[in-house]
């Protein structure tokens, strides 16, 4: 066994240990701490698999923003967490057997994947020049599989609408609960004041270089979202009222602009979601800019939850 094999095994063991800790921790708080650490290490495994784009997304959304969502949920639900009756031994044994079976089938499938593996990489590369992009992952997201990505933005809008819809009628149009305590740490206020502007610049830069290097609309948008959230956690700003026009416009800007560009395809380039040849890169970056806006707005709103104050306040 080489040194690097040993390191890979050790990394896998720690990741699995953290996963086990996540599901076995008695209190949700401890479980979420383990989950955030798990997400961090998973991002490093993604780097090992030559997937820096995914690693960034996993670190920002899978670990960071999801962690904040779960931790704030556990705070609000914590006092209510009445312990349920523990599951019976039969249920545990059955679940263990089923899980072992599924894991076994999956492991077998992984070990007997066809060799040589099928790959679309040459096709993706062959048409990369037509998009004017250098990052094949961005090309897949915005050009080759653009319909998927557009609908995925629609899912985000629907999720925000779904979260808002659980609010009682009298709070409709009001603002969600604040993200931090009434008197935040002064150190946190300082951090938010310094970090947020720098982070905003880096987020925009990450979107911009995403055309050619790892990065892109999702990663840049997620970092901008995190910066807005840290400003709200320091109580420098409050979550906006959900009736505000700019907010709703920003939410639908991503899928809206994407859809319009797709509909303009038949006129400009001959088919739906086709971009005019020679002019594809500016169109792609234009669409992506609005996607960044929508992602940066929708992720914090999903974390903030339904409105809990009346619209007048």
């Amino acid at each position: 066994m080489t040194l690097f094999e040993a390191l890979d095994f050790a990394l896998a063991a720690i990741v699995l240990g953290l996963a086990a800790r996540t599901i076995s921790a008695r209190r949700v708080f401890g479980a979420v701490v383990a989950y955030v650490a798990y997400g961090l290490l998973l991002a490093i495994i993604w780097v090992r698999l030559y997937a820096p784009d995914v690693a960034l997304t996993e670190a920002a959304i899978g670990s960071g923003v999801t962690g904040v969502l779960l931790i704030s949920a556990s705070t609000r639900l914590g006092p209510l967490a009445a312990p349920d009756a523990p599951p019976g031994a039969a249920l545990k044994a059955g679940a263990a057997a089923l899980s072992a079976l599924v894991a076994g089938i999956l492991a077998t499938a992984v070990l007997y994947l066809p060799d040589p593996a099928p790959s679309l990489a040459p096709e993706a590369d062959a048409h990369l020049a037509e998009t004017g992009l250098g990052n094949a992952v961005t090309a897949v997201l915005i050009a080759y599989r653009s319909f998927d990505t557009m609908l995925e933005k629609v899912v985000l809008v629907l999720a925000v609408a779904g979260v808002w819809s659980v609010a009682p009628d009298r709070f409709w149009g009001g603002a969600p609960a604040p993200l931090g305590p009434a008197a935040p740490d002064t150190a946190l206020v300082f951090l938010a004041r310094i970090l947020a502007p720098i982070g905003a610049v880096i987020g925009v830069q990450m979107f911009w270089v995403g055309a050619d290097e790892p990065g892109g609309a999702f990663q840049g948008g997620a970092i901008l979202a995190a910066m807005w959230m840290i400003v709200m956690m320091a109580r420098l700003t409050e979550p906006p009222r959900i009736s505000s026009g700019w907010l709703r416009l920003a939410l639908i800007a991503g899928p809206g602009v994407f859809l319009l560009a797709g509909l303009a395809g038949p006129v400009m380039a001959g088919s739906f979601f086709a971009f005019p040849p020679g002019f594809a890169k500016p169109v792609i970056l234009f669409i992506e800019a609005f996607m960044v806006l929508s992602i940066a707005v929708s992720l914090p709103l999903l974390v903030a939850g339904p409105p809990n104050r009346e619209a007048g306040r």
Binding site: G30, I44, V47, M233
Partner: protein, 93 residues
């Protein structure tokens, strides 16, 4: 030289990872937060070492993203533990 850097990356990651695993098996929640913080910094160091050794494009961008978010989850945790303790005792601080 590159192998030395990669080995350093691996050792750093395993050290902080093992420390975290050890701490989380204990009962002290605050220590878990500290260990996650150390894991974040160690992970960034490991990524930078790996980026320098392998020259794979974009790894240092991942490190930059992690650096921005390093404090993010911990801030939420401390805020949450404050709110939790406050509500346990029916007070705000």
């Amino acid at each position: 030289m590159n192998d030395v850097l990669l080995a350093a990356a691996g050792i750093t990651l395993l050290t902080v990872g093992a420390g975290l695993a050890r701490v989380l098996s204990g009962a002290r929640e605050v220590d878990g937060l500290m260990a996650v913080q150390l894991l974040g910094t160690g992970g960034i160091a490991a990524l930078l070492l790996a980026a320098s050794a392998t020259g794979v494009a974009g790894v240092e961008n991942v490190a930059l993203g992690l650096a921005l978010l390093a404090s993010f989850a911990s801030v939420a945790f401390v805020n949450a533990s404050r709110t939790q303790r406050g509500s346990d005792r029916g007070e705000n601080r």
